[in-house]
Symmetry: C2
C-alpha cells in the first residue's frame, strides 16, 4: 500500500474512527484501525463488535494494499504533524508515515485477523440532513436507561411512522420524544427499531461534524447510517419497546407558561437543599410557581417566580436533575408545564414547537 493524503483530512477521519476503540486486552486487534485502499481512496475502519465505523479519505493511491495498526498511536502521531501531505506506505506489516521531515514506522498486524464489519446493501428507509438528525438525537439520547434489567429501554426507539421519524427514550422515570416531520421517507410503512445508546452517541459525534445527507438502511439485525464518507453500522436491540404514547397525557388539570431561564434558576437554587433524594417541591397557584426544598442538616429554600397558570392549584415533587435534563433540550424562551396530580406524569414542552415533549414522573411524597 502507498497512499498520499492531506494531514488535515487524515486527522479528521482518524479521530472519528478511533472514538469507539477502548482498551481491549482479550482481543488486541480491536485496538487497531484497518487501513485499506478501495476504488482509488483510502478506507479506514474500526469496530468494537457492537458498532463499526467506515470512513474514506481522498488522496492519491499509488499502490493498493491493506494493514491494521494501533488506532490511538496512529491518531496521536498524525494529530501532531503539520498540515502538509502525508505519505502512508506498508511494507512487511509495518506502516511508514512520512510528512516533511517527520517519519515513523508503526508496527502493524495482519489484516486477516480484523473482524468483518457487516455490509448492508438494502435501499434506504429514509434520507435526512445530518444536522437535523444530530439535533433530534441530542434531545432524547440522555433519557435512555442505563440499567440492563430492561434491555429494550437501554436503547433509543426509532419509529418510522408514515412520513415521520419518531425518536424516543425513557428510563421509566422520564421520557423524551422528538419527531422529525420532514424526511423523504419513501414508503408509509411503520417500522420500529431499538438502537443502542452508545451507537446513537457515536452517530451524534461522527455524523454531526459535517453537514451531509444521511441515508438510513436496514438489514435483518443491523442498521447503517450512511453519510457518504462516513458510515456507522450497529447491531439492533431485540425486544418490544413499551407503548409509551398512551402514557403521555393530552389534557391537564393545571397548565403553566413559564420563562425558561427563570425556571432554570429557581430549580438550580432549590437543588442546593434537595438532599440525597434530589427532590424539590413545585407548587402552582395564583400565577406563581413556588419551589420548596429542605435538607435537615443544611437548611431550606423557598423561592418563587411568576407563571401564567390555568386550572386548579397543584403541588408535586420532582427530581431536579430530570427537570434540568428536560429543560436543557428546550431552546424556546417560554416553556409549557402541564400537570394532573402529584402522582401522574407531568409534561414539559417548548411553546410553539410541537416536535418535542419531555415527560417526568413526580416523586411520591412519603
Amino acid at each position: 500500500m502507498k497512499v498520499i493524503c492531506l494531514q488535515e483530512n487524515l486527522k479528521f477521519i482518524l479521530n472519528i474512527t478511533q472514538n469507539i476503540i477502548g482498551r481491549n486486552l482479550t482481543l488486541p486487534i480491536l485496538n487497531n484501525v484497518l487501513l485499506q485502499t478501495e476504488n482509488g481512496r483510502l478506507k479506514i475502519s474500526s469496530t468494537n463488535l457492537e458498532v463499526g465505523i467506515n470512513t474514506w479519505v481522498s488522496g492519491k493511491v499509488e499502490k493498493n494494499g491493506v494493514i491494521t495498526c494501533p488506532a490511538k498511536v496512529l491518531a496521536n502521531f498524525v494529530n501532531n504533524l503539520p498540515n502538509k501531505k502525508v505519505e502512508l506506505e506498508v511494507k512487511n506489516n509495518t506502516l511508514t508515515i512520512k510528512c516533511e521531515n517527520y517519519k515513523a514506522n508503526l508496527n502493524g498486524l495482519p489484516a486477516d485477523d480484523f473482524p468483518i464489519i457487516p455490509k448492508i446493501e438494502e435501499d434506504p428507509l429514509v434520507e435526512l440532513k445530518s444536522g437535523v438528525l444530530r439535533d433530534a438525537l441530542l434531545k432524547v439520547v440522555g433519557a435512555a436507561s442505563l440499567s440492563e434489567s430492561r434491555p429494550e429501554i437501554t436503547g433509543i426507539l426509532f419509529k418510522f411512522d408514515k412520513r415521520e421519524l419518531k425518536l424516543a427514550a425513557t428510563d421509566s422515570f422520564r421520557l423524551a420524544e422528538k419527531i422529525i416531520f420532514e424526511t423523504n421517507k419513501k414508503s408509509e410503512d411503520v417500522k420500529s427499531l431499538i438502537i443502542p445508546q452508545k451507537t446513537v452517541q457515536e452517530i451524534i459525534r461522527a455524523l454531526g461534524e459535517k453537514e451531509t445527507d444521511v441515508r438510513i438502511c436496514l438489514s435483518a439485525s443491523q442498521i447503517l447510517f450512511d453519510g457518504g464518507d462516513i458510515q456507522v453500522i450497529s447491531r439492533l436491540i431485540d425486544g418490544q419497546y413499551p407503548d409509551y404514547q398512551q402514557i403521555i397525557p393530552k389534557n391537564f388539570s393545571t397548565q403553566a407558561t413559564i420563562d425558561r431561564s427563570e425556571l432554570l434558576s429557581i430549580i438550580k437554587v432549590a437543588a442546593v437543599f434537595s438532599n440525597k433524594t434530589n427532590s424539590i417541591n413545585f407548587s402552582l397557584n395564583n400565577n406563581e410557581l413556588e419551589v420548596l426544598s429542605q435538607d435537615p442538616e443544611l437548611g431550606e429554600n423557598k423561592s418563587k417566580i411568576a407563571a401564567k397558570i390555568q386550572g386548579k392549584k397543584i403541588e408535586a415533587n420532582f427530581n431536579y436533575r430530570y427537570l434540568l435534563d428536560g429543560l436543557a433540550n428546550i431552546g424556546t424562551k417560554q416553556v409549557f408545564l402541564g400537570l394532573n396530580s402529584d402522582s401522574s406524569p407531568a409534561i414539559i414542552k417548548p411553546i410553539g414547537d410541537e416536535s418535542y415533549v419531555y415527560l417526568i414522573m413526580p416523586i411520591k411524597a412519603n
Copy 2:
C-alpha cells in the same frame, strides 16, 4: 448581622474563599466560611489550617454580627441567584439569604469554634502588580516536587534579593527560575522563604482575577499576600532551599536557536513512541535537530527540524514531559537550547528575555 450586597460581588468572593475548602470529616467547621461585619463591610474568611483567605465585600451593613456556614452550599445557592441585591441576615445561628423572590435559611455553626487566621501587621517587604506576580508564579509553580521526602523542595523559593524578587522551583529533575526585576522593594536585604506549592496555586487563583497591588508581608512563621480586598495568609516551609544557582550552566559546548512551535511539534510527535520512560533522543548537528524515539512494541519515530546551531555535535535523552512543561512557560517565537554533555544539565530560555530559565537533566543512556 444584617448586610445587603450585590449578588455579583458576593459570588466572586465566595468562589475565591471556598476554593481551599476540601471535605473535612474530622473538623467539620473547616468546611465552613466565616462571615462577619468589620468596619462597615462584610468580611468572609476560610482556612484549611495551612492557608487562610480573607476577603471583603462592600455593601450596606445594617446590623453587626458573625456566623459560620457551609461554604459549598452557600456558594452554590448564591451562584444561581439573579444579579440583584442580596440580603444576608443572621438569627439564632441561621443565615437567611433573600434575593428578590428567592429565600433560603442556612444552618450555621457558632463562630467561636472557627480557627483563628493569623494576623500579620509588619510593614510590607515588597509591593507589586497582581498580574506580574501571577504570571511569574505560573512559570515556576509546576516544577516543584510532589514528593514529601525533601519537604524544602515541595515549595516555591521566594528570594528577595537586592531590588529583585527571584522565584524558583525544582523537583531535582528540572528547575524553573523567574526573576521579577521591577519591584518597589524598600531595602536591599536578602531574604529567602519557601512557600507551599498549594499556597502559590491559591495566590495565582485568588489574586490573579483582578488587577490590583499586592503587598507581601512577613511574620516569624507566616507570610501575607495582601491584595486589598483579598488576603492570602500561609505558613512557610522550614528548611534550607538548595543553592540551585551554582548548577545553572552559564557556558555551553553546543547552543541552538529553534522555532518554538516547531520544537513543540517534534517533541509531541516523538512522544508517541517514547514508551514508559518518556525518553526521547535529541541529536544536534549541522543546523538540524533530529529527534528519535523508539517503543519495542509500537514502532519508532525519526523526525527533524531546522535549528541554528553553534558548537560541537551532541546527543542527549530527555523526558518529553519536562520539555513540554518548560516550553509551555515560554512565549517567545524563538527558543534557546544549551547543552554541555549527555549527563549534565541543559537549559531552555526564551530568546530576548533574561528573566526566565528552565533547566532540565538529561536521562542517562543505559
